[in-house]
């Protein structure tokens, strides 16, 4: 449990860096988010 916070920070950092720097990943994330919103609004 004591290692939860640094682990969570590491996951956040790796995920954010991946979305920011890997070409097209941000677009894919946005598309998935759009689909979720569309489905939720039905």
């Amino acid at each position: 449990m004591s290692r939860l916070f640094p682990r969570a920070l590491a996951v956040i950092a790796v995920t954010a860096a991946s979305v920011w720097f890997i070409p097209g990943l941000d677009d894919g994330v946005e598309l998935a988010f759009q689909l979720v919103v569309l489905l939720a609004s039905r």
Binding site: A8, V11, T15, A16, V19, D26, V29, E30, V37
Partner: protein, 184 residues
């Protein structure tokens, strides 16, 4: 560790990754040249700036969405649009709902400062957004909106404030000095 606890831990990590990814993508888009799908973008930079006579905007009735940027704040988003009698309009619905009040900030910002830039088919147009608070005389526009987007918007929705309708007029020096909401 029980199965329920394992599932809970897994759910936490998956949720953390998903939320981080969505927030990062949204933040990244804020510095981009325009919006993407649903996330707001930064200032509209690319594209020729239109200079010429006022166009007949009826061509936007065949375009699903356009990019719209306010000058203050410099954020852009993708919006629905329609044209009637050669004029161009944009609007925001659900403004009387709690979600609308919380989520939709650009209509209030446009009332404060209506200077805007549209980008349509790669061409940028400087416009002045003027809110129309009465639906009277907008029957043909609302018919076009309903035909284009299969919605059920009515002039009464504009009267009630549930739909904030803006006419995007040409932006000239005199228009910039005209207070927002003043149709003169």
């Amino acid at each position: 560790m029980t199965l329920a606890k394992r599932v809970g831990v897994l759910f936490f990590w998956v949720l953390l990754v998903l939320v981080t990814a969505v927030v990062t993508a949204a933040i990244k888009q804020r510095s981009a040249d325009g919006p993407n799908r649903v996330f707001s973008g930064g200032a509209l930079v690319s594209g020729e700036l239109y200079q010429g006579p006022e166009p007949d905007w009826s061509f936007v009735n065949s375009i699903p969405t356009i990019e719209m940027q306010l000058l203050d704040p410099e954020q852009s988003r993708r919006v629905w649009t329609a044209s009637a009698n050669g004029k161009i309009y944009v609007w925001s619905g659900y403004m009387n709902s709690t979600v609308g009040k919380l989520w939709k900030s650009w209509p209030a910002q446009a009332v404060q400062d209506g200077r805007a830039v549209f980008r349509v088919n790669g061409v940028r147009y400087e416009r002045q957004l003027v809110r129309l608070t009465s639906g009277a005389g907008l029957e043909s526009l609302m018919a076009m909106v309903n035909e284009k987007y299969a919605s059920r918007a009515t002039p009464a929705a504009i009267d009630s404030g549930d739909v904030w309708m803006f006419e995007a007029r040409p932006r000239a020096r005199s228009a910039e000095q005209t207070p927002a909401g003043d149709p003169s």
